[in-house]
């Protein structure tokens, strides 16, 4: 999708937005289960993976290390957000490790991030429209 008419922003911004929306869904699940016995909070891993895909030099160095399992895709288009459970945090008596305050803080930051990405995507489209239409 990148290359040709469209710059890399279309791919990186839209996939970062997908990951952010995914993260918000996972945070919503954590909040809904803040009082569920045995529930372990979930989180989404994405930005590190995208960073690896965008910096091929770092990727090459890691690949040469025999100890390293390369889960990092090489193409930006293949970067996907992953969900996992976090088990090693402080828990209450019933095994639940959700801290509502922490979830709310992460949620606020993630929401701001999504809105910034959406604005950047909008700006990207605005620039293309200026060029294509020849008007502001």
């Amino acid at each position: 999708m990148a290359g040709g008419l469209f710059n890399s922003n279309f791919v990186t911004l839209s996939s970062a937005m997908d990951a952010s929306a995914l993260r918000h869904r996972v945070i919503s699940q954590n909040i809904a289960n803040a009082e569920t016995p045995g529930y372990k909070r979930k989180e989404v891993v994405f930005e590190d993976v995208l960073r690896e895909a965008l910096s091929p030099q770092e990727l090459r160095i890691k690949k040469e290390d025999p100890r390293h399992f390369s889960n990092y895709p090489e193409n930006i288009e293949d970067v996907q957000a992953r969900m996992g459970s976090v088990r090693n945090t402080w828990i209450t008596n019933d095994g639940n490790n959700v801290d509502i305050d922490q979830e709310m803080a992460v949620m606020a930051a993630n929401s701001l991030r999504y809105q910034t990405l959406a604005r950047l995507m909008d700006q990207n489209i605005v620039r293309y429209n200026i060029i294509l239409k020849g008007t502001r």
């Binding site: 890399s8 990186t12 911004l13 604005r119 950047l120 700006q123 990207n124 620039r127």
Partner: protein, 109 residues
């Protein structure tokens, strides 16, 4: 202040910003001395390079933000807005040049 054109050997004793300003004035006066009239092609080329650079800077900043490398929202928004502004400015200049050209063409007929 001395005249705009100073020998480069006199720059060693100055502060860095003043040094940059003197070098800029030197370059500008050299350009004006070498050509009889302003070179539109050259000015346009420099403007295009600047616009291109602005776009690349904005695109790189957006990619960095998406990858979590850049955490400052205002930095990335400002660079996006600067890129859009320089694009609009170039467009306005182009439109004005085109309409001026058309007017000249009309006059000759």
């Amino acid at each position: 202040m001395a005249s705009p054109i100073d020998p480069i050997s006199n720059l060693s004793g100055l502060g860095s910003i003043q040094r940059l300003e003197r070098i800029q004035r030197e370059d500008a006066s050299k350009v004006q001395k070498s050509t009889e009239q302003p070179d539109f092609a050259k000015i346009l080329n420099q403007a295009m390079e600047q616009v291109n650079k602005d776009q690349k800077v904005a695109e790189a900043a957006a990619d960095d933000f998406a990858a979590g490398k850049l955490s400052s929202i205002h930095d990335v928004m400002v660079s996006a807005e600067k890129a859009a502004m320089s694009l609009r400015l170039t467009l306005e200049v182009r439109n004005k040049i085109v309409s001026a050209y058309q007017e000249i063409m009309r006059m000759q007929l």
